[in-house]
């Protein structure tokens, strides 16, 4: 199926093939996350599990605006970013199962997905702290005179901590090639934004640093993609950092154990009607870019991919005991002497 000149314009110049691939990524994230919830309930996954359901358009829209040589560093709700970047679902599920074949050898778990070969520099679980590391990465790229950018993800909750302000100052002072992507899902864990932030339009916080900033509907894949393209181009061209606020809503709890007392069923239903995956699917079908049959085929394929990931994780060996040796915490191991 081909796009017409009119649809090409409406879809940010993306080809039908690219659009369908982006839909595939959104479905993969959704199916992966729903399977994680199931595996958590069956005690195959432990610890904290923060699902990305409802925010798919943010990860897919922004990460597709990057080149393979660009860098990503993110927060603990990191499954969506990892999958959009093309990390292997098998290695991710194995990580959740605590297996040796996991992307972090079973040492990191849900909050610490990583694949340095994909320039995916990890999920970080101390809110806001990795924004400063993104500035260090930007500093390195600048000193190395590389035309690469760093994209760093964080939530609305992170913008109240000191690290956010230190990071924006460092980035702007150094004109660093960093794109700050705030996923404003309206809650800091279980605290509504009106309770946790004096300014609820997060992008306005950038003006204290005279930093370029933009607010976009993070449930609208194409709008998010276009805004991310602008931000990435700005950072790559040497004009310095950008703050991109993507307004979205998570359809599941903060973590898998969240009873969600802080919001009503009606509110969740209201946002369910704006489910980014359903909105995009409908749009692609209406515009003749995707057929209903094709959509269903993609959905079946992604279920198969995730089922295979579960099978792989299940059959993988447990995390290696070599990691119990105290010197294994070091790249250059030196033991105590007696």
């Amino acid at each position: 199926m081909a796009t017409t000149p009119e649809t090409t314009e409406r879809y940010a110049g993306l080809s039908a093939e690219q659009l369908i691939d982006m839909y595939r990524q959104m479905v993969l994230i959704r199916v992966f996350e729903e399977k994680c919830q199931e595996m958590y309930t069956r005690a195959k996954i432990g610890g904290f599990l923060h699902l990305y359901v409802g925010q798919e358009a943010v990860a897919v829209g922004t990460i597709n605006a990057l080149k393979p040589e660009d860098h990503i560093i993110t927060h603990y709700r990191d499954h969506g970013h990892a999958l959009a970047r093309g990390l292997d679902p098998k290695a991710l599920m194995a990580e959740l199962f605590g297996k040796a074949t996991g992307c972090a050898a079973g040492l990191g778990g849900s909050m610490h997905f990583v694949d340095v070969s994909k320039r995916f520099w990890g999920g970080y679980a101390i809110v806001g702290s990795h924004l400063l590391m993104a500035c260090g990465m930007g500093t390195a790229l600048k000193l190395q005179k590389k035309p690469e950018v760093v994209m760093v993800f964080f939530g609305d909750g992170a913008t109240n901590g000191g690290e956010f302000y230190e990071a924006l100052n460092f980035a702007k002072l150094g004109k660093l090639p960093v794109v700050f992507v705030c996923e404003n899902n309206l809650f800091a864990m279980g605290t509504p934004i009106a309770v946790h932030s004096s300014v609820q339009e997060i992008y306005r916080k950038a003006c204290a640093f005279d930093m370029t900033a933009e607010r976009v509907d993070g449930n609208d894949l194409i709008a998010t993609y276009e805004a991310a393209l602008r931000a990435v181009e700005h950072a790559r061209s040497g004009q310095g950092p950008v703050l991109l606020e993507c307004v979205t809503y998570r359809l599941r709890g903060h973590s898998a154990q969240d009873t969600q007392k802080y919001r009503t069923k009606e509110e969740i239903e209201k946002y369910r009607a704006r489910d980014p995956n359903q909105v995009f699917r409908k749009k692609l079908i209406e515009d003749g870019i995707l057929s209903e049959e094709q959509a269903q085929q993609i959905e079946r394929q992604m279920e198969q991919v995730v089922d295979e990931a579960v099978q792989f994780a299940d059959q993988s060996p447990p995390a290696e005991e070599k990691w119990l040796d105290p010197t294994s915490a070091y790249a250059n191991p030196i033991a105590d002497k007696y």
């Binding site: 040492l107 500093t139 390195a140 190395q144 294994s328 105590d336």
Partner: protein, 322 residues
Amino acid sequence: MAVMTVREALRAELREWLKDDRVFIIGEDIGYYGSTYGVTAGFLEEYGPEKIRDAPIAEAGIVGVGIGAAMLGMRPIVEIMSVNFSLLAFDQIINHAAKLYYMFGGQMQCPLVLRTTNGWRNLSATHSQAFDTMFAYVPGLKVVAPATPADMKALFRAAMEDPDPVIFIEHTLMYGVKGEVPDDYQAKIGESRLAREGKDVTIVTYSRPVHLCMEVAEKLSKEEGIECEIIDLRTIRPLDMSKALTSFRKTNRAVVVSEEWQSHGVQAEVVARLYEHGFDYVDAPIERVGYVEVPFPYATNLENQVVVTPERIEAAIRKVLE
């Protein structure tokens, strides 16, 4: 063989590293101001603002920038002017620098050297502390605290060559200490040093108190023929107890001296290991000398009694020899 101060030794080694494209220094007042303790004085003019990066007063940011740059292949030297300010960066140091390699299954390295200073002198409670033990407590960090100009230079080189994050502890009252720095001198992280031979008592120490202990040892030798054997740990994580234990098995008496509050610190760890691995050789309870356990007072008469002094070290030695 050159005679240098601690400051000169550090400056010489920093100059060597600044030739490397991967290296930059980031910290507060290291450039325009001319460096609080003079270690990087004049470097800005010589190496320029990309290499000598004056940072905002934002310690978490300074360390975070160092970590991110290290992840992408740089060899940053991060200066935290006073260890008291490192508390603002503890999340970066402990939750990130120390964890990256292990938590991501060995995929990432964090070759960061964090220079900082212990020290005191009429600075009161928030500017006179030592947190050696808080760094050394954390798996993933290496903690180095040399005493002599030669070790300062050699261990700084070792820290820069190491792929892991290294906390490099200096002392504000030690920059003027002089010593010989042989051209081919080398020292390794995780290896202690026999600083003085003796048969009567073992003194285990590191950083500035090494010099105080040497002074007391010379006095006791000259005046009374008491011979102290002094072990300079040089690195406190990883900890090399081999020389201390060999000495303890010979002298059967030990004093542990460091500039830190006496309880819960490196001293406690060293004393525990001496007992664990030298139990059969104990002739007297091990003594320790550290800061008196109050927040630091400003007034000189009080401060002089809180800190580690030659008099207190001598008294501890006499006690274990009783």
